[in-house]
């Protein structure tokens, strides 16, 4: 049923210094999946996303989005960076950050207008942050900041979403709120790719999974490949999670 390939990664190799942190990654992500990328700290999960999005330049390999180079398909792709990647003391408000999601479609020089503001407010509403729209971003809690980032990506109205640890530091309620939004996106036919650390919740939240540790260990439907064998291969130690079938 799922035959269209949303994201295709070919022979991707990435290095910061001399030693590659990603080796020969081949990956096909079908359209409409909610996929987790799992792997230990330093496995290269963030690096993989950044390379797909053209933030980092790979040594070798290529990435295509719906069969075309990423550069031609930018408008189809949204990104939620790891929360710690920005300075939250920056003088701006929650609404302003969410508006940034519209900058891409605006292009150079043009300013966001009423239409963009409306879209931003809708996104804030969706993540339950409307009451905080005029808050200075440094005065938001970690979970609220995370939701602002999510809203900024929602505003982009993309087909494919890449999220780097959107559940980092959020409480149980927010986690459920976020996963519901992600599931809604999937229902709308979007493809969502999430770096995820909590292995216990993988089977519950996701339908697709990629194991990564410098090399790609495995990728496929959660029900087929989320097993102790792959976990052990990825995390090194004899890893066991109690997976309730």
């Amino acid at each position: 049923m799922k035959n269209k390939i949303a994201v295709k990664v070919d022979d991707l190799t990435v290095a910061y210094n001399y030693k590659p942190v990603l080796w020969d990654i081949d990956l096909e992500i079908p359209e409409g999946v909610l996929m987790a990328i799992v792997g230990p700290n330093g496995a290269g999960k963030s690096t993989l996303i950044k390379s797909i999005l053209g933030i980092l330049k790979p040594i070798a390999g290529s990435v295509s989005i719906y069969g075309k180079p990423y550069e031609d398909q930018r408008s189809l792709v949204a990104y939620v960076p790891q929360k710690g990647s920005v300075d939250w003391d920056f003088p701006t408000t929650a609404l302003d950050v969410v508006k940034m999601g519209t900058y891409g479609s605006l292009g150079w020089i043009k300013r966001p207008g009423l239409k963009q503001k409306k879209a931003a407010l809708e996104a804030l509403e969706k993540v339950g942050m409307l009451p905080f729209k005029n808050r200075q971003i440094s005065q938001l809690s970690g979970g609220q900041q995370q939701r602002i980032f999510l809203a900024r990506a929602l505003v982009q109205n993309a087909s494919i979403y890449f999220m780097d640890e959107p559940f980092q530091g959020v409480d149980a309620t927010t986690e459920i709120a976020i996963i519901n939004i992600l599931k809604e996106l999937r229902k709308a036919g979007k493809t969502v790719i999430v770096v995820h650390h909590d292995l216990q919740t993988v089977p519950e939240y996701f339908d697709w999974v990629t194991f990564l540790n410098v090399k790609k260990i495995a990728t496929g439907p959660v029900k087929d490949i989320f097993n102790d064998d792959n976990l052990t291969k990825t995390y090194g130690i004899n890893y066991k999670v109690s997976i309730q079938e």
């Binding site: 999005l53 933030i55 930018r74 960076p81 920056f90 003088p91 701006t92 940034m100 020089i109 905080f132």
Partner: protein, 356 residues
């Protein structure tokens, strides 16, 4: 006049340097400009400021792009790269200056003003130049406001939206270099970076909006320029640069102490006030719990009971009486309707959290 314009432009651009946490950048650029001045003098023999500033601009830009190169090509930290270029260029510049001073024919009187600045040597043409550059800078700032803002906040994300971050970055940096070079004659190489950073740092204390911050920084910078020049003019031979920078630093100091949201003074006052309020609320809540045990909420209780409650003082009781939440009757107290309502509201507030 010239120094006011100068202060305004360095203040505006300084905001960007501060927010990028590139405090050293200003230092590096201004020091990198020194050899340019010396070389321009050696080649042309001219003391005409435009020629010398052109030299400064060229070597400032070379220094800046070396720094960028070092940061992207090697894995040195940006601070290290900045420091490296700074000392390298400044050392070379000083060497040249010393050499020039030893030349018998060289009338070098014009050159040392670039170390500490001398506003009195500004001529009308210099001021015009500054005004024009400031105008262009303002225009560019307005046009690319959105791009500057998003790059400063989240560079990686900006890239994914399809903006060429390198172009935006080069645009900002070039204007910072330009502003610094323009300031050399007035403020001098050594203190130029303070002129860039001080107004911006002061402005940051007063506002949480980027736009307001840039405007405030421009105003602070302009004032520092005017006052600094005025003060240094009263004294013969007093270099302008240090005086301007001292005025700007006073702005910073005042801002750090007095700003309402981030200042130390108000933080302290708020802290004390919050603690007092909290004590009051806690006592009220405790009384509420006791009063609740009775059907009649205004039923009197002994003051002694309250002594069991940590944090209770006569002062807080007085305040509650004063606010009409509690009434005293001998050594008994009872809660008023109003107090009861307030106390139960406290509970609700705590459970729903604050929503602005």
């Amino acid at each position: 006049m010239g120094t006011a314009i100068l202060g305004a432009i360095t203040g505006m651009l300084g905001s960007f340097a501060v927010l990028r946490k590139q405090s050293l950048l200003g230092d590096a650029i201004s020091h990198a400009a020194l050899p340019g001045i010396a070389i321009a003098f050696l080649i042309t023999g001219a003391k005409d400021s435009n020629t010398l500033l052109l030299g400064a601009l060229v070597s400032g830009l070379i220094g800046t792009f070396w720094i960028r190169g070092i940061i992207t090509k090697t894995h040195l930290k940006s601070d290290t790269a900045l420091g490296l270029i700074l000392s390298l260029f400044f050392g070379f510049g000083m060497l040249l200056l010393t050499y020039i001073q030893k030349q018998p024919n060289a009338n070098q009187a014009g050159l040392d003003k670039y170390l500490f600045g001398q506003a009195a040597t500004l001529v009308e043409r210099d001021v015009w130049l500054m005004a024009i550059v400031t105008g262009i800078c303002l225009l560019v700032l307005l046009l690319f406001w959105k791009e500057f803002k998003i790059l400063l906040f989240d560079a990686d994300y900006t890239k994914t939206l399809g903006f060429n971050t390198k172009t935006i970055d080069i645009l900002i940096t070039s204007f910072i270099v330009l502003a610094i070079v323009l300031g050399l004659q007035t403020v001098g190489v050594v203190l130029m970076s303070a002129m860039l950073l001080a107004p911006a740092a002061a402005a940051r204390q007063w506002t949480n909006s980027l736009g307001v911050m840039v405007i405030l920084a421009a105003i602070f910078g302009a004032f520092s320029g005017v006052f600094g020049t005025a003060i240094s003019a009263t004294q013969n031979n007093l270099s302008t640069g240090p005086v301007i920078v001292i005025v700007a630093s006073i702005f910073v100091l005042l801002s750090f102490v007095f700003s309402p949201s981030r200042g130390l003074l108000f933080k302290q006052i708020r802290f004390i006030k919050n603690r007092r309020d909290l004590e009051l609320h806690k006592t009220l809540a405790f009384m509420y719990n006791i009063a609740e045990t009775h059907e009649d909420i205004t039923h009197p209780h002994a003051i002694k009971i309250l002594n069991n409650f940590q944090g209770f003082t006569k002062g807080t009781l007085q305040k509650l009486v004063h606010k009409n939440y509690v009434k005293l009757d001998g050594n008994m107290w009872y809660m008023t309707e109003e107090g009861f309502k307030t106390a139960s509201n406290l509970y609700n507030q705590q459970t729903t959290g604050d929503n602005e």
